[in-house]
């Protein structure tokens, strides 16, 4: 692995050089590399190794490939593969395309490091590598991106410092950075330190994962990042947070209990319960915020907040069903986030905007993109027979089986609310009246379509055959000594019932065919133009001249928004806090550094007097 990391570093230079010659070449190189990563990982199914890279002076980096991190490494390679495929065409007009690709390669390196780490130090190093590379990548986006990147970096640094503090506390106690040492020592640590470590580490994970009270960086970072990078942010980088939460939850009481074979939460364990609750709040806040967005990418960003909530809720809930569901949901969210962000990127690539209120009727121009988006949102909303349903079903099963009504309420809230927000882009970008300026928009080029279609295909296949979705995670459950969830090729068994995705798919397909047959049996319909609609007596030609008037998708859910008009906004608090800090800094500068010379001497005399006085008395 360490060799791979050095190869990755070298590759980033190579790709930069290649991309200077031609963007597609650089992107193809990256695609080949990450594709090779995907292939190698699939081939290494079931294998594992650990290796160390000594840095001297007692420091060493440890990497491993095991059942535990296999799905995550695959995830990283996969996302990069898809995105670089997408980038072959998409980067053409980007200002800093070559640097973009080089930095994206570095993200790949950080993937290997974060997911492949076998000790906390390595984990941290590659976390930080990700921070600064993704900072630049986010900065390259549209107008608001610079501010967004700064907020993003700021939050990431907070997470990093929380994490490093926790790591150092662990290291001080266990004498090493290794995961396995910590696993052995965790129970024996003094409870004060343990609590601090847990809180710090989980807070870091929550920030990175964009979970509710610390989620606000997602809106701008995901929304304003370059269209090619948003899928990576949402599909890959927030997964770092989920992964570290998962990693850390292994030491958490409930997970320990589950390891002993208990499939049911016996007590509402305090910390777990709180964490699950935070996950639940994140689901709700993300959902409501997503519904109220009018920018497509920001909408998807908040859907990430909501989905992160599912993952955290499920992982913290800790029954074997919930854990398997939560882990599966990570992969599901990768696919859906890719699907949604890539299709939004494709739309923006052609139209140059992500403002939903401006668009409409693009399905005629971009049918493939529409299909991709449609499949992605069916999965996001957790509608069978796609992959999204499996994981949501498992999570809800786990919650229902143990009677956690409040959490179940939260899960349902997010799930049903997602119908609302996923439909809005569908309706206002692809359907409805098409503004005149988008009449000549074309479908995106081949590679972009290919990248999107791969994602779509996988979403469908994993939905019909949940075995491939769940097997890696049941293997993890075996690996960490948890009772694995029972799965069949297309079936999942819970304590309450069983689910047969193939059956659902076939029945749905049958119903669809029936509908088609009935439809075709009867007389052929007449096609009409887009603007020929019933308008209760309004003047129709106006529609063709100014379609915006009849678009009616501005403020799509405005009535719903009224419900929340008086709710407190976390973001507003943060802004207020930032303003106070800024003022405070101003005062410090004025009083300590902007004196006249006499002032400085005064300052010195006072400091001297104080120092001496403290000594003397």
């Amino acid at each position: 692995m360490s060799t791979l990391i050095f190869i990755g570093l070298a590759a980033s230079l190579l790709i930069y050089a290649a991309a200077r010659l031609s963007r597609p070449l650089g992107a193809l190189l990256l695609m080949l590399l990450s594709g090779a990563g995907v292939a190698a990982l699939i081939l290494s199914w079931g294998k594992g190794f650990t290796e160390t890279l000594p840095l001297g002076n007692g420091l060493e980096l440890t990497f491993s490939l095991s059942t535990f991190n296999w799905p995550f490494l695959l995830l990283g390679a996969f996302v990069l593969f898809i995105v670089s495929l997408f980038a072959v065409n998409a980067l053409k007009e980007m200002e800093h395309g070559a640097s973009f690709l080089a930095l994206l390669t570095l993200i790949g390196v950080s993937v290997m490091g974060v997911f492949g780490a076998y000790d906390f130090l390595t984990l941290f190093i590659f976390f930080e590598l990700m921070t600064w590379t993704s900072f630049f990548l986010v900065s390259m986006g549209k107008t608001g991106a610079k501010k967004a990147a700064l907020i993003y970096a700021f939050m990431s640094m907070i997470a990093a410092y929380l994490m490093i503090s926790a790591i150092m506390m662990i290291a001080q106690y266990t004498g090493s950075f290794s995961y396995s040492d910590f696993m052995g020592m965790y129970e024996a640590m003094p409870s004060g330190i343990r609590t601090t470590v847990v809180i710090f580490f989980l807070a870091a994970a929550l920030i990175k994962g964009g979970i509710y009270p610390v989620h606000f960086w997602l809106r701008s970072a995901h929304g304003d990042a370059p269209h090619v990078f948003s899928p990576v942010l949402s599909g890959l980088l927030v997964k770092y947070g989920y992964y570290s939460a998962f990693l850390f939850l292994l030491f958490f009481p409930v997970m320990v209990a589950t390891k002993a074979g208990i499939t049911q939460v016996t007590s509402t364990d305090g910390p777990n319960f709180i964490l699950a609750f935070i996950g639940g709040l994140s689901i709700m806040a993300g959902t409501v915020a997503a519904i109220l967005q009018s920018d497509a990418k920001k909408l998807v960003a908040f859907s990430s907040v909501s989905h992160g909530g599912y993952v955290i809720l499920a992982l913290a809930y800790g029954t074997n069903m919930a854990v398997a569901g939560g882990l599966a949901h990570i992969w599901v969210h990768v696919l859906t986030a890719l699907g949604m962000f890539l299709s939004m990127g494709a739309v923006a690539y052609r139209t140059g905007t992500t403002d939903m209120d401006e668009m409409g009727g693009l399905i005629k121009n971009m049918p493939v993109t529409f299909t991709v988006y449609l499949i992605a949102i069916i999965s996001v909303a957790g509608i069978p027979p796609l992959a999204g349903f499996v994981s949501k079903w498992m999570i809800i099963q786990a919650l229902a089986a143990n009677g956690s009504y409040i959490l179940a309420f939260m899960a349902f809230f997010g799930s049903i609310g997602s119908f609302m927000y996923v439909f809005r882009p569908l309706a206002t970008i692809f359907l409805g009246q098409r503004p005149h300026k988008f009449k000549d928009v074309r479908e995106v080029p081949f590679f972009m379509q290919l990248a999107m279609l791969i994602v779509t295909l996988l979403t469908i296949l994993l939905g019909i055959m949940p075995y491939y979705l769940l097997k890696p995670f049941t293997r993890i459950q075996e690996f960490i000594g948890m009772v694995p969830v029972k799965i069949g090729f297309s079936t999942v068994y819970s304590a309450l019932t069983q689910l047969d995705m193939m059956l659902i798919f076939l029945v749905f397909g049958g119903g669809f065919l029936l509908a088609l047959v009935i439809f075709l049996l009867f007389s052929k319909p007449t096609k009409v133009e887009q603007h020929e609609v019933y308008t209760s007596g309004e003047i129709a030609p106006e529609i063709s001249t100014t379609p915006e008037i009849y678009h009616f998708s501005k403020g799509y859910y405005r009535s719903f928004g009224r419900l929340f008009s008086r709710w407190p906004s976390v973001e507003a608090w943060y802004h207020k806090g930032a303003a106070y800090i800024s003022q405070f800094f101003e005062i410090i500068e004025q009083s300590l550094f902007k004196q006249s010379i006499n002032g400085f001497i005064w300052l010195a005399v006072v400091v001297m007097a104080v120092l001496m006085a403290v000594r003397w008395f």
Partner: protein
């Protein structure tokens, strides 16, 4: 071998500095190369000396006096690395001066000042004698005054002169009193005899020392000059201040603290710790608001000095020397010298003063942008660069020694530092310039030098044990 005597590191530049006026009457044009000669000699000499020095401190006696009575110079491999870092950055600044700023001021005064400053800085780092330290400090300071007025920044320089003079007056009082009480000017011996003295006396002396050194080391009460001087000084000048002067002065402070006061006077270190932390916090807070790049770096430099001093003080605070923390502080010092030189030189080469003006300059001068980012990323402690390790070690030691308040202040400061430096990088690469002014030309020599510095930072970033080995043992082998 003659090169083995560390006194040459001081004497050669000094000699060359005095030769400059003589030289200038014969070869007017060649004068400007003399500082290069001095700097180059020092770099080579230091590089040659380091392998021969062991971790232990070698004491070189000057003028045939036994070390406790005469002036003595200390040298060890750690001091050697310090000298190497300082001289390397100084050499860089001098190159920059020759290539870009030769016509800025008097063609005579500035070469002299640079060479003199080099000599003084080396003296400050190496000397083991308190009064000698004063002399070198003043020498450096006067050279510094000259360098500070390079770009006609009279007001900032005036501040600098006044505050620094006050500091040196304090220093003299403290030194004289210490001499009177202990009978020695030699740091080690004075420190040894300190035990017999009363606590009030030591506390007064220590406060005086702290005040005195605070002006040079950019610590809080007397560091009001830093921002205006950085802002007004030339490119070479700002590098001198950020890397050469503050590096040498910080090392001198550390030396005085370690050798004279040692670990037995918790209250001395406690005071210094608080002062350092306040400096750190205030510096970062002030830097956060700046849009002038040099002022931003200046305040950040203040903050870093505070951090280093606080860390050293914390390492000695509890009656035991925490090697790890001490080494981490020294690591941070060296990283700071190298990275800050890189950043300031880069800013000077871009020739733009504010965040807005610099917009997009990094894309127009790609390599320069890359080098600057290496420096900046090292300063904010990103992995792959030297600064990451120093930050990591600091956190490790701080958490390990349960100094949670310090950790908190340090990490918060680092957070804001990261924010404004990243903002700078963002503007550098992705911003849109507000001025139409074209960027000054940069010669390939400068690029090579910058490359060396950046490579050094990245090298340490990947193999931190080079520096760890260098700085560890300064406390172990003992200047004591």
């Amino acid at each position: 071998m003659i090169m083995q005597n560390p006194v040459l590191l001081i004497a050669v530049p000094l000699l060359l500095a005095f030769l400059i006026p003589v030289f200038s009457s014969f070869f007017k044009g060649a004068v400007r190369f003399i500082p290069v000669l001095a700097g180059g000699f020092n770099v080579i000499a230091a590089a040659l000396l380091i392998p021969q020095a062991s971790g232990d401190v070698a004491v070189t006696e000057i003028g045939g006096w036994a070390s406790a009575y005469g002036i003595s110079l200390l040298f060890s491999s750690q001091i050697g690395y310090m000298i190497l870092a300082v001289n390397l950055t100084a050499l860089l600044a001098i190159f920059y001066y020759i290539l870009n700023e030769r016509d800025l001021g008097s063609p005579l005064a500035y070469p002299i000042a640079f060479t003199l400053a080099l000599s003084g800085a080396n003296g400050m780092i190496m000397t083991g004698d308190l009064f000698n330290l004063f002399v070198f400090m003043e020498m450096t300071a006067i050279a510094g005054y000259i360098i500070a007025v390079h770009k006609k920044g009279y007001l900032g320089t005036f501040r600098f002169v006044v505050l620094s003079s006050v500091g040196s007056a304090f220093f003299l009082i403290a030194t004289a009193s210490l001499y009177n009480a202990t009978g020695f000017l030699n740091m080690a011996m004075a420190g040894k005899n300190l035990g017999a003295l009363s606590t009030p006396f030591i506390s007064v002396i220590s406060v005086l020392f702290i005040m005195a050194l605070s002006s040079e080391a950019e610590l809080l009460p007397l560091n009001g000059w830093v921002a205006p001087v950085y802002r007004e000084s030339s490119g070479a000048g700002s590098v001198f201040f950020a890397s050469v002067f503050s590096g040498a002065a910080l090392f001198a402070v550390i030396k005085v603290m370690l050798i004279v006061f040692g670990i037995n006077y918790a209250y001395v270190h406690q005071g210094l710790l608080v002062l350092g932390l306040v400096t750190l916090a205030a510096g970062e807070a002030a830097a956060f608001k700046q849009s002038n790049l040099k002022k931003m770096v200046a305040y950040s430099s203040i903050a870093q000095s505070g951090l280093i001093i606080a860390a050293v003080a914390a390492a000695m605070r509890s009656g035991v020397l925490h090697n790890g923390l001490f080494n981490a502080a020294l690591f941070q010092l060296i990283n700071n010298i190298l990275a800050k030189a890189l950043v300031l030189l880069g800013i000077a080469l871009l020739g733009q003063a504010t965040l807005k003006e610099i917009g997009g300059a990094g894309t127009r001068k790609k390599w320069l942008g890359v080098f600057i980012s290496a420096g900046v990323l090292s300063l904010i402690g990103m992995p792959g660069f030297a600064g990451f390790w120093s930050k990591l070690f600091l956190v490790r030691e701080l958490v390990g020694n349960r100094m949670f308040v310090f950790t908190l202040v340090f990490l918060l400061a680092a957070l804001f530092e990261a924010y404004y430096y990243l903002r700078f990088l963002q503007s550098l690469f992705l911003g849109k310039s507000t001025t139409a002014a074209s960027l000054p030309k940069t010669s390939w020599v400068t690029y090579i030098l910058l490359f060396v510095l950046a490579a050094l930072i990245i090298l340490i970033g990947f193999a931190p044990d080079v520096i760890i080995r260098a700085v560890s043992g300064l406390s172990l082998g003992g200047v004591l």
